[in-house]
Symmetry: C2
Subunit: 374 residues, 2 copies
């Protein structure tokens, strides 16, 4: 893996991550393909919308269809018909949020599948073995991610456990196939613990560094303060990935603090729940006020879903339970997110990121009711 | 509306229906866009797969979002972002199959919406008024369609009522906007009644003629016998549309008996239930035998859904409840149906329809287990 920073503006950076299967332009947004598919989108459509890389969930894929099965079928890229880069998480986050009867110990975590109740175990080594079977391009260490708020001693214990697992992951990782390994900063909402975690991870040495354990219930100000604590001790030459974040506003704020990569279910999940992201904030198409509105979501967009369908039609599709509603709103939302990332990259390259951030925030604040022409 | 027959082979014909919004190549298959959307497909994708025309259901659209609303939004073509030809049914079939507390009288039918229980009334005149508000290119008379088997006197009563409504429809129809009106042959499984119905409709005179009241529970042999009774009295120069049919085998057999147009929910509904249509018959992707099968549905296809995704992946998507399963299998099924129609048209033009029919039937009989190479 290579990482070239081509421009900086304050703490914000833009560049390229070079991977065996393609280049990831940063700051990058990674759509979430939970079960080996970005929901309601064909893979080539996701790529055409600007996604250089997608995230796939180790937890879901290890349970169904199974990592060994995916490997026998040629790996996840072949299986999911996605020939471009893939990042896999370690499975730890979903074990905490989805699995039943989980039991964590110093060596790993034992849990029951939420699908069929079968018992499974993840250790730092097995998490990497599964990711190698899937054949992902960027792999994540197993960590323990707490919901916030959490007791201070719990936060420290989980951070230290995650660090121990980081060391084991580094030792177990086989870079032979050209994949990259990222460590994960933990430390909850405790800035000194964040600094300790980042410093220790940097000493172990990873291809990239994730800031984990955020967007788990804390206010945005806390999240941003934790980014500010986590980032400075990390090596400037490595990519920084803020896991599970976030809203467009979260992303714009995090980029200003030196984050290069993001993943989040928001654009795809919101699309399946009738919510569109636009330049003028979110629009809830379930709302009856759209029933007679002939306007598209944004007539200035290049995205067909955004430009070519009346809000009245989208409202009708949502009310009628048509799958096309989820398809078009997911397309709109991913187009919006990737367009935002392209704008972010261009603004950093032009060294006018602050102006760009102010301008997009002005649009969101303006809201959907105002006339759309700029 | 124009109709040019460019070649015949026995009773089979191929040609072009000219409509204000485009040309329909016949024999034609019309995907069903129940609520103004072909389920799990974007409109431009449906057109690119070979659909020259889609069917929309008057019953569904009159209830939600409402015909007057669609008219105010510019008509169904604009509303649904489908600029190509649309055929609307009269609403009668769904009133019989879906509505609650329906009461039919000589003047029309009163029923309660299956969505909210509200009371509505359809008469031959109102059915055409609604279709004019939707702005469809081909409009259907209101008729009464019985499930089979039905008592002989009921069949005759419904046929005579449908004929009376045909006359009223012809008088009420305003061809000013360039739309076409089709009459509907009824008569259940009674060949003499079918002949009477076709003869009387021809005397009234329509732009095209539908054979209705079939594919409602009768054996295929009965359906084919009723087509053979219904078609000869119809004017050869007008298109013939077999409503609600059918399987690929039904279509091949009906074309041999002079049918030019078809609509059916099978390819889209089967796609949402994990079933793929292929040259070698249907494949049920829910079946566990596909879990480790790296082969695509058909490696010789030009359709990405058919050619580029492993059966193991499609099986996984179906099991995981991913919307992409319905999207890809619907795409495959519509590609198969439209490819079949293209093959039918080419075979008639080459006057080798019988050989073509024998060859496709041989493929279906061969089944999915055999090696796929021809």
């Amino acid at each position: 893996m290579s990482f070239h920073i081509t421009a900086t503006d304050g703490a914000a950076r833009t560049g390229d991550i070079g991977l065996a299967r393609g280049v990831v332009r940063t700051p990058a947004f990674m759509p979430v393909g939970t079960a080996g598919a970005v929901k309601a989108m064909r893979p080539d459509e996701v790529h055409a919308l600007g996604a250089d890389i997608v995230l796939a969930n180790t937890y879901h894929l290890m349970l169904r269809p199974g990592a060994e099965r995916v490997a026998a079928l040629g790996g996840l890229h072949t299986f999911a018909n996605w020939p471009w880069p893939i990042l896999t998480d370690s499975g730890g986050y979903q074990v905490m949020s989805l699995a039943k009867l989980r039991r964590i110990d110093a060596d790993g975590v034992t849990f029951q599948s939420h699908i069929d109740g079968s018992t499974h175990r993840l250790t730092p080594e097995r998490a990497l073995e599964i990711q190698a079977l899937l054949g992902s391009d960027i792999r994540m260490q197993l960590d323990e991610c707490l919901a916030l708020p959490a007791p201070a001693d719990e936060v420290e214990r989980a951070m230290r456990l995650s660090l121990a697992w980081a060391e084991r992951s580094r030792r177990a990782f086989d870079a032979g196939a050209g994949a990259a390994l990222f460590g994960i900063v933990q430390g909850g909402d405790n800035a000194p613990l964040r600094v300790q975690s980042s410093t220790a991870l940097s000493q172990i040495g990873f291809d990239g560094y994730a800031v984990g354990g955020l967007a788990v219930g804390e206010p945005q100000a806390t999240m941003l303060a934790m980014i500010e604590a986590s980032v400075p001790p990390l090596p400037a030459a490595a990519p920084r990935y803020l896991m599970g974040v976030g809203t467009p506003d979260d992303i714009v704020a995090a980029v200003a603090r030196g984050i290069d990569m993001f993943d989040c279910v928001l654009p795809t999940r919101a699309g399946r729940h009738g919510v569109a992201y636009t330049r003028f904030g979110t629009i809830n198409l379930k709302n009856a006020r759209h029933a007679d509105d002939p306007r598209p979501l944004d007539e200035t967009s290049d995205c067909p879903a955004t430009r070519d369908y009346a809000r009245a039609y989208l409202h009708h599709l949502v009310k009628a339970g048509e799958m096309l509603a989820a398809m078009l709103l997911t397309e709109n939302n991913l187009a919006y997110y990737h367009g935002l990332m392209a704008g972010i990259r261009a603004a950093i390259a032009a060294r006018r990121y602050e102006d760009f951030a102010a301008s997009v925030r002005e649009g969101w604040a303006r809201g959907d009711e105002a006339p759309q022409s700029v």
